[in-house]
């Protein structure tokens, strides 16, 4: 039994190889690209919109709203990274409904690469918002003793992010495979439907956790800045 699509190798030359993970990822990317090109042609700027445009606008605005709900002040700034994260994971998971499809998210390499992207994006946005010194200083809060624990936490949560997604998707795929062997009728269909739900939930969790990490890295900056300027902090309840 294959635990990961990485093991399905189509072409290899030394260190370089093309496995099912990469191929299906390209397939997902191709679908996104084609959809985007189709939309670009049909895109209108007036009130007469196509169904595809309406659907995509709804999805994009929903993602933007979610980013904003997490606490990020300028959601469009993070839409490219976080939105792609969600859409990629979601589509990669949803396509499991097609037989023969191997979800790239069922590969620890893919989830780890996504987690590493988040691992890099968090300090990137944190430094961008707060500055290098201020961001690095946040690792010593509330006291300097917390520095190693903060660094460990930063690394461990990245791996947790990768393993959580990988585990869920891989286990779902494995359960379906096992069920196909034990009870090939009806039950795999139910499990596939359950797998779709799990896939969407995992995509949402991955996206939300990444958003929360970035928000934590950037909003701390805001709070610190406000404290330095002696400006009153507006509580969420007061904002409403």
């Amino acid at each position: 039994m294959q635990l990961s699509p990485d093991e399905i190798i189509y072409w290899q030359m030394g260190f370089i190889k093309i496995n099912a993970t990469i191929v299906f990822t390209w397939g997902v990317m191709l679908m996104f690209f084609i959809s985007a090109k189709v939309l670009e042609r049909a895109l209108t700027r007036n009130n007469k919109r196509t169904r595809l445009q309406n659907a995509l606008e709804t999805i994009v605005l929903a993602i933007e709203q979610q980013i904003s709900a997490v606490g990020l002040i300028h959601p469009r700034q993070y839409l490219g990274f976080l939105g792609t994260l969600f859409l990629f994971v979601a589509l990669a998971n949803l396509l499991t409904i097609f037989p023969g499809y191997e979800p790239p998210t069922g590969s620890l390499s893919t989830t780890l690469s996504l987690a590493l992207c988040v691992f890099v994006a968090v300090p990137y946005y944190g430094i961008k918002q707060r500055g290098l010194k201020d961001y690095l200083a946040s690792y010593t809060k509330p006291s300097f003793i917390m520095l190693p624990f903060n660094i460990i936490g930063e690394i461990s949560r990245t791996f947790a992010l990768a393993v959580r997604l990988f585990g869920n998707i891989m286990s779902g795929t494995m359960i379906i495979g096992i069920m196909l062997l034990i009870a090939p009728f009806v039950f795999p269909v139910v499990m596939t439907a359950l797998g779709l739900l799990t896939g969407m939930v995992q995509a949402y969790i991955f996206f939300i956790l990444a958003s929360v990490y970035i928000a934590a890295a950037t909003s701390a900056n805001k709070t610190q800045s406000q404290l330095h300027k002696n400006t009153p902090v507006i509580k969420p309840s007061e904002e409403n």
Binding site: T21, I22, A36, L43, R45, V60, L61, S109, L114, C117
Partner: protein
Amino acid sequence: MTIDWFTVGAQTLNFLLLVWLLKRYLYGPILKAIDDRETQTAKVINQADAIKLDAQLQRKMLEKKNNEFDAKRDELFTKAKNTALSESEQIIAKAHINADQISKSRLQALERELEHYQQDIALKTLQEVYDVARKVLADLASVELEQNMFECFCKRLQNMTLDEKHNFNKALDAGNTELLIYSAFELTQTQIDKVDGILQQVSSAKSNSHFHLKLEVKTTLISGIEIRSNGWKIAWSTEDYLNVLQTFISQLLIKQRESIHNRTAQLNTQSHNVKNSA
């Protein structure tokens, strides 16, 4: 469950490429389209607000104009009403005056007509009475009747009042006065002598009074005798009785006219009272 670091790198690159692709071909165009539409909507809303504001201003202006127009209309209406009322009062007053004048002139015409009728009736009555009397007397005329008439005249002469005697003697003062005797029938010599004698007795008080008699038959006297001289006259005939009758009728008509006048004046007063109360 192993980590293939080449796949990790490749997937990272794939993901970053996908981020760029989606930003370039999906998020960018969609967000731009949304922004454009929102801008356009905001522009339309602003235009609508401007139009609404303009409409509100125009509505206020029209309401103001309407109010002014209503006030002006009310003012003109009141003015026209007052003018019409005063004109109406003037016309009614004029009509009353004209009606009074017409009524007055009609009353005058009626009075004239009434007077005319009265005169006409009196004249015709008298004429009829004359004719009837004349016819009756003519039918009854005989020597005896004429003699009786003459006797009556003689008694009349003998019983003259003092004023009549005075007037008679005054008429004789001119001397050689001619006394005209009109009679409805021809007098006999005896009758003439008797008249002469009576007149001589009446005038005997004055020695210088001379007169001579002149006879003339006058049928219009209606069975009577009359003596005239220098504005003096004494007579006895049915005409005198008829004259008395005419005088009586005239007085009766005058009384009747006065009662009509009083009644008309009463009616006029009543009508004036009714107008004033209206």
